[in-house]
Symmetry: C2
Subunit: 370 residues, 2 copies
Amino acid sequence: MSRAVGPVPGAVRADDLGAFCAAVFEAAGVPAKVARIVADSLVCADLRGVDSHGVLRLPIYLRRVAEKMIDVAAEPRIERDEGATVRIDGGNNFGAYVGQRALEVALDRAGRHGVACVGVRASNHFGTAAYFAEQATAIGLAAMVMSNASQTMPPTGGLRPFIGTNPLAIAFPTREGAPFLLDMATSHVARGKILSAAKKGDSIPLGWAIDKAGRPTTDAQAALDGAVLPVGGAKGSGLSMAIDILSGVLTGAGYGPHIRNMYEDWNEPQNVGHFFFVLDISRFLPLAMFTERLADYVALLRAEPKADGFSEILYAGEHEHRLAQARRANGIVLPPALIEELSALGAGKGIAWPASIPGAPGNGKVAAKV
Amino acid sequence: MSRAVGPVPGAVRADDLGAFCAAVFEAAGVPAKVARIVADSLVCADLRGVDSHGVLRLPIYLRRVAEKMIDVAAEPRIERDEGATVRIDGGNNFGAYVGQRALEVALDRAGRHGVACVGVRASNHFGTAAYFAEQATAIGLAAMVMSNASQTMPPTGGLRPFIGTNPLAIAFPTREGAPFLLDMATSHVARGKILSAAKKGDSIPLGWAIDKAGRPTTDAQAALDGAVLPVGGAKGSGLSMAIDILSGVLTGAGYGPHIRNMYEDWNEPQNVGHFFFVLDISRFLPLAMFTERLADYVALLRAEPKADGFSEILYAGEHEHRLAQARRANGIVLPPALIEELSALGAGKGIAWPASIPGAPGNGKVAAKV
């Protein structure tokens, strides 16, 4: 029995997937340099196993462009420059592109001043914060990256969404292997994980979210209509607000209800804000000494007795780094429904879905070549 | 029936309590300027309702001094100065004193450069992080204050304590009322809260901690012998490690198991590290515009529908600020057992326990004057 003709639901190369996304963006009128960065950011998330921030977002990003909710031609502009502190107007381009430009300013200024803070307004959903934080660690710098987001969580004491699941990434370079890279939403789980579950038709654990009426729920779709809960109650609620204040109140971006929902608001741009903090470690101690001390820390951690069900203890970002290495080598396997959706999007613009990798894991039964 | 002669277990004035603590420290050989700051820090915690970091710590602080685990004569020293980034050797004086000196450097440098990062090594338990963060907001600056601490929590995947409940404070000035001041331990609850419960003989909720054998427990004492758990699992675990890296690995202080326990290690100084980040808001937008935007945020928050059991929605630090105002007006009520312990300590040095406030709440039945 032969399979129906269509895209092969097998593993594809990360670079091919990125090229596909970039080509689709370009066909939608996105300049090549912008398209490349946004595609890179999406594929970075899929490589790291953060599927919720991966190419899954391509359709909504494209729709935002089509509805003129994103200005793909805008160049982010420094509107206040004080050396170690910079405020940037993102011009309402893609969050990943605006963030990338802002990060580059932050990296440059941290090199000059030892520490830099760059605040950004008039931006959009910037994808996974790890995309930016990792670039800082690659050149030996430490980074803290945050963004606000549209309302998805009730604050402690509140009944309905008021704050976003505002992400926070903190990253440090290491001597070898994965950088230390904590990339967390301030919710119990990232809203994107519930989105993933809803797409797959999976249920979610109790405690992740409440439904529209404020009741605890295991139904992913009901949770999307309701609200995810902050991590650790008042702690996550306060942390999310602190990120909102740095990313939004301080920068001139939206905050709380002033940030528009990417999926629901088609009248005005999102006005998301970001905050980048970059630190030059070598102003405190030689980088080699820092990474040696961090390697000692990690060695001590690894030597600890393990809890039931754990064969090793990992530091933040290590699991995602391993996944990324494996997926870069073996390709990225996407859910068939997503492949169908994306390849249809590509086909409409004359862009072919990438060939799957012969014999790669997940490609055991390769269908007839289309 | 008359009460036994002894200290009156009634409310005492915050200033009197601070003066008592400072006098006790001075009698133990602590220089006046150091004694005053450490006493201020302890009373600040009691005022804010963070009893776990309040004068409850006086006995252990004194014992650390008596055992020469703290060098009360040491002056913190800038050992690396790059302008916006500074590394300080605390000289093993009290954490509150070392922290205060470091904060003052950070405030000064943030004023000059817009942002400043000050890392500190060779310090000790610095009390409540709010003590420092609040001072930044009082002069219109934003602050992030963190410290590492001796091992009390297992990392995700680990079985026994490896990381501390490393606190993080993030604070912003407001137009009126309480500053926004999130001051959180990276545990489900601060270890000090379990210490408080153990002192009172109270049980603790399930999920706060595990016992020595790794089993969930409601016994506060068993929890102290075991381990508190990070907030939100891997998120709190990663956040605690990030704070340890900034406070310890980066500064030259201890980290993980290299930090000695204040209660258990009598051979060597703790070598705690701190990290102060101060930001000059006015480099981004005029302070009045920032506080106006923040006031709008808070007004929107307050207008939200309330969850069951809440009559209002507060932002981080608001509850503690109200408590502090009430306690400054009406006095601080300490548990009788603690008053007994502290007044005995004072009596041994010829320092009288402060007179309780006549007619203050908690002083309804005033015992015969001693």
